[in-house]
Symmetry: C2
DNA sequence: CTTTTTCACATACCGATGGTACGCGAATTC
DNA sequence: GAATTCGCGTACCATCGGTATGTGAAAAAG
């Protein structure tokens, strides 16, 4: 079927190597502390290859961030999709988001460097396009169904999104495993308050 | 009284010029996009002066961030202190925090670049030392008084802090003035849920 | 099969940036 | 008034992100 060809295969392989190594380095040491020389070195290519695939360091980061966000978005969607009830979709989607973003390979790129490197507005747009969209949708459904009292969804979505982002960052540094339970419990209570008449 | 002397006065003046101009530039264009050459140029000095007062670009930013955080912390403390009731202190402290961090001169430095430049852990420690401390204290008092059900305060503080941070960033980009009311209302409801038995 | 074109990538180079070493001169100290 | 401090300017350096150009193999054209 797909005639592939040596050309395109090598191209994709190089691109994946660049994305993979830069993601690893960005995760370990942050965007600002990683040089392009390191990235291309780790990927086994040169800057020529990097600039052939990406428009610069910032665009490379954007591509990495897109991967990370899609990964999180997919996990959230799967967790939510496992439930029929709209309310359960919200709750379990939120829990999965918390679990996914607590992982070390996600945090720094998605929650810390993302807004600083690309600007908060651009970051927000990307976030909305991937994981945050699920939250907005879930809330909209619940309002439409009357489970949650009628109100603008956007403020609610931002409050909850921010709460979970910060909580995830904190949990990642926490040493006490009970913190996760406590946070989940507190989050559950916050969510539960939404459907109080 | 204070014999001041030409030496110390000039020193303080230079330091204030560097802090002021760098705060302005960091706010306008972000940490990464501002060069030291620009800063010293705007402040009317040279790099020699900058490195005499600060250990580098990162430490200069840290000093600026400290100023910004103290400013916010003071506003929150004042707003909360205007009320006797512990619950009112929490509510009005949160509202003031939202108002303070929605201002353009605060946002980028405190909420976007801060964690990325200094690392989330260091940023958190600084935040806790200034504005976030008030939130933790207020919640602790409320739990002690029995107004809020007994529970670990830290998870709650992080959830609320993150919620307000994100909300402030969103509000700053929002064009609809009604968004502020809606967000405040939603936040009030979130807080109010804390004292439901 | 031969020629031509494409293109994925390497090499060499550039201006700008953060950072350092050192010198100077006026304010302070003795 | 001599000695010393120190706030700051000057000159310089390594490294960074980014660009221009070369090259060789794969693909297309003949």
């Amino acid at each position: 079927m797909t005639e592939r060809g040596v050309r395109v295969r090598q191209r994709e392989e190089t691109r994946r190597a660049l994305l993979g190594e830069s993601r690893r380095l960005f995760t370990e040491r942050g965007y600002g502390a990683v040089s392009l020389a390191e990235i291309v070195g780790a990927a086994g290519v040169t800057k020529g290859a990097l600039y052939h695939h990406f428009d610069g360091k910032e665009e490379l980061f954007r591509a990495v961030l897109e991967d990370v966000q899609q990964e999180v978005g997919r996990r959230v969607a799967e967790a939510a999709g496992a439930h029929e009830d709209s309310w359960d979709q919200l709750v379990f989607g939120c829990r999965e988001f918390l679990a996914a973003t607590t992982a070390p390979g996600i945090q720094r790129i998605m929650l810390v460097d993302g807004p600083a490197v690309l600007g908060w507005t651009a970051w927000r747009a990307m976030d909305e396009a991937s994981s945050a969209r699920h939250l907005t949708e879930a809330l909209t459904v619940l309002v439409d169904e009357g489970v949650v009292p009628a109100q603008p969804v956007a403020p609610l979505a931002h409050l909850l999104s921010g709460a979970m982002n910060e909580a995830a960052l904190w949990l990642a540094t926490s040493t006490d495993p009970a913190d996760l339970e406590h946070t989940t419990a507190a989050l559950d209570r916050m969510l539960d308050a939404l459907r109080a008449a």
